[in-house]
């Protein structure tokens, strides 16, 4: 097992979190949800702490983390950008908007800019199809976005 370099207080919080769920392996997904809320993402060390607490193999935790798209093993940027790629947004040109973000930020989907400022993800339907195509930056929703507006939107965060 690798050396844990996670701050001790975070480890304690994780241990406590698992205890709140009775260290039950059946609660793994609920625990991961809370852990991601606590740390921001689920790096290997976090998975190891949880596996030890629940007395299950790390491979099992890793299997679950990588299965579900909601869980991430890389930290998000300061301003996480999510471009909706649901069908409604897709037919209204979301792919071109996503391409423009990729081009300007020079990152691919699932990556974070080297300065840690922006991370780019695509997601499936936020349900605001009337505003398609939709882009979420943090909690803020941008509707009816065109590729030409992308640069202007990013400038808001400078």
């Amino acid at each position: 097992m690798t050396q844990i370099t996670l701050a001790k207080c975070k480890v304690d919080q994780l241990v406590k979190l698992c205890e709140e769920f009775g260290n039950q392996p059946g609660e793994l997904i609920n625990i991961l949800h809370k852990a991601q809320g606590l740390i921001g993402y689920l790096p290997r060390e976090v998975q190891e702490v949880i596996a030890r607490q629940l007395n299950i193999p790390v491979s099992k935790v890793y299997g679950v983390v990588t299965f579900y798209s909601f869980f991430s093993m890389t930290p998000k940027g300061e301003y996480p950008i999510s471009v909706c790629m649901g069908t409604a947004c897709y037919v209204r040109g979301a792919e071109k908007v996503l391409d423009e973000f990729k081009r300007i930020l020079k990152v691919n989907v699932g990556e974070t800019t080297p300065d840690g400022k922006f991370s780019l993800t695509s997601l499936r339907c936020v349900g605001a199809c009337g505003l398609a195509p939709v882009v979420l930056i943090g909690e803020k929703v941008y509707g009816r976005v065109t590729p030409g507006e992308v640069e202007k939107i990013l400038k808001e965060f400078e």
Partner: protein, 596 residues
């Protein structure tokens, strides 16, 4: 306290994204300034359905329906409408054909053909107030079941109603309940499948946001009928508002004694807990969903055993979709014979659709089964955006198919859609126009399936990947006629051999587009052209020197400075630099930019 007037403001996700909560704050402030806060109540409701024109504000009792309201309009609504009794004309919906303002939603094309059963309370009540639900006969269905009906009578009523599962499969709900009721166990479970994964569909979310108690009541009724005391809602973690409203609703129901021990003084007890999904489309399949709730990877398993025999923690489990459940209380109150008179011979009741894409009225609609696609698209949906030509409508999400002009008069029901080469699915309905490339659409869905395949069975894991690669090749202009045969053969094999519903239906978008848009595939393969002008590899942007007046708008909007030219002189596109984003074409006012 009795109010003289109510202002209903849509608090659904779509309208909240357009600042509807700020409208509420502003309305309340303005009312307070005029000392009207005791006479006029502002209520945040669930989705009205007319998302295209959101945020929606409705003033009761005169039923005035305001569209696209901004926080700054609040003052005028209070000063004019509330105080002086004059409608704010500029905020009323304008009928696009007659060009006149319509103030009552009943007379709008969008609502005329609709019949709301599952959505009966959405947009009428405050979803965070149980008393408003009770005032609209809420929980009286549960009371009727527990105090006046035997469990088998409830099941018979549901069977008689002809209700079929709204999640996609269309399995008769009453029969499902009957199976679950026959197995004996120390514990049984009722599961609500709220893992709405179909991209572009938001029916279930709107019901949970707008009328969470109807789902809770139905789960309790199901629990009573099959002998379960525990209910679980498996809900997407991406739906924070729906989660919060369900939590509030469960808490309120517990306080009112409508959940918990000895409900209505009987010996029936029922509790509900939430379980969160984590973004996996396959978890909409009931066995995968159950594995996910147990904390595992959401991989499906072979049926039988069906969940009715061995489901969550190996106990008998009944899984129903949100919309299915929302119909239950209405059926119990009004009777199976009321419900089974609505709809077609084999599909009873109504269906909620999330109407989206290239259509004028994007929104959430509920129509009786048997309504035609033409009525939905042209009368309710208001036709195609920007006067373009209708090309296809996609139903059933990634498992469904694309229907065309020739299917427009097909009455919508489970069997007719299947016979036309698509399926009902959960209710996503995406309209496409002449600018949409059907090969790209098929590729888009396959990309989704490849991403969401759990990887357990080979046909789905590898087969879909190959389908996607072949489609990609065609959109790159490198396809051959043999590829077309490969697509068809491989699709059939995947349909026959995949383990679960996801794999068995994933080739549908490919097969239906080949069937209905064969010429478009041929154009990509033989002529190396994309008729819709979507496939980038086959595109070349070009400025017509005859039409270009040299205004420079295209050059200013080009993100890569690929357009050059002197002012008032025709401009040119440097094709080596051009990234084919289409911004120039979108901006040009003289239609000088074209693709070839």
């Amino acid at each position: 306290m009795s109010y003289k007037m109510h202002i209903l403001v849509c608090g659904g996700t779509g309208c909240r994204a357009s600042a509807s909560h700020q409208i509420i704050t502003r309305l309340e402030e303005c009312l307070k300034e005029k000392n009207l806060e005791d006479e006029v109540q502002v209520i945040a409701t669930g989705c009205f359905g007319f998302c295209e024109k959101g945020p929606i504000v409705k003033v009761m009792p005169d039923n005035t329906f305001y569209v696209q309201v901004k926080p700054d309009d609040a003052e005028e609504i209070v000063n004019e409408h509330v105080i002086k009794g004059r409608k704010v004309e500029r905020l009323l919906y304008k009928d696009p054909e007659k060009k006149e303002a319509v103030s009552d939603s009943k007379h709008m094309g969008f609502y005329k053909k609709q019949l709301r059963i599952a959505l009966r309370n959405c947009g009428f009540i405050d979803p965070e107030n149980i008393e408003e639900y009770i005032a609209r006969e809420g929980y009286s269905a549960l009371a009727k079941c527990i105090t006046k009906m035997k469990p088998e009578e409830v099941i018979n009523e549901i069977k008689l109603s002809g209700l079929r599962g709204r999640g996609g499969g269309g399995f008769p709900t009453g029969l499902k309940w009957e199976f679950a009721s026959k197995y004996q166990a120390d514990q049984k479970y009722v599961v609500c499948n709220a893992d709405e994964g179909d991209p572009g569909a938001f029916m279930d979310r709107s019901i949970m946001e707008g009328d969470p108690h109807s789902v809770i009541e139905a789960m309790a009724i199901c629990g009573y009928s099959i002998g379960a005391t525990k209910g679980l809602v498996y809900i997407r973690a991406e739906y924070p508002l729906a989660i919060q409203r369900l939590k509030t609703a469960i808490h309120q129901a517990e306080e009112f004694g409508l959940l918990g021990e000895n409900i209505f003084g009987s010996n029936f007890s029922f509790n509900i807990e939430l379980r969160y999904g984590a973004g996996a489309f396959v978890c909409g399949e009931e066995t995968a969903l159950i594995h996910s709730m147990e904390g595992h990877r959401g991989e499906p398993t072979m049926k039988p055993p069906f969940p009715a025999e061995s489901g969550y923690l190996n106990r008998p489990t009944n899984v129903n979709n949100v919309e299915t459940l929302a119909n239950i209380p209405a059926i119990i109150i009004k009777g199976a014979n009321w419900f089974n008179k609505i709809g077609t011979e084999r599909s009873k009741g109504t269906k909620v659709f999330a109407l989206a894409g290239k259509i004028n009225n994007v929104g959430l609609i509920e129509v009786p089964m048997g309504t035609t696609l033409r009525e939905v698209i042209y009368e309710i949906g208001g036709g195609i955006k920007n006067g373009k030509k209708f090309k296809a409508v996609q139903t059933g999400g990634p498992s469904g198919g694309c229907l065309t002009e020739k299917h427009l008069d097909v009455p919508i029901d489970f069997d007719n859609l299947l016979a036309s080469g698509s399926m009902m699915g959960s209710g996503g309905m995406i309209v496409m126009d002449e600018d949409d490339c059907m090969v790209s659409v098929a590729k888009f869905y396959l990309e989704f399936t490849v991403e969401e395949s759990c990887g357990k069975c080979t046909p789905c894991r590898i087969g879909n990947k190959r389908l996607h690669e072949t489609l990609d090749k065609i959109t790159q202009g490198k396809g051959t006629m043999e590829d077309l045969e490969t697509l068809k053969n491989l699709s059939r094999v995947i349909k026959d051999t995949a383990l679960c519903g996801l794999g068995q239906t994933s080739p549908n978008p490919v097969l239906s587009t080949i069937d209905n848009f064969y010429d478009e595939y041929l154009a990509h393969i033989k002529d190396k052209k994309c008729p819709a002008g979507q496939c980038k590899a086959l595109l070349m942007f070009h400025i017509d020197p005859e039409l270009c007046i040299g205004c420079g708008l295209c050059a200013r909007n080009c993100p890569v400075d690929a357009i050059v030219g002197e002012r008032k002189e025709p401009h040119f596109i440097n094709t080596a630099k051009c990234i084919k984003c289409g911004a120039c074409m979108e901006k040009c006012k003289f239609k000088a930019v074209s693709t070839r």
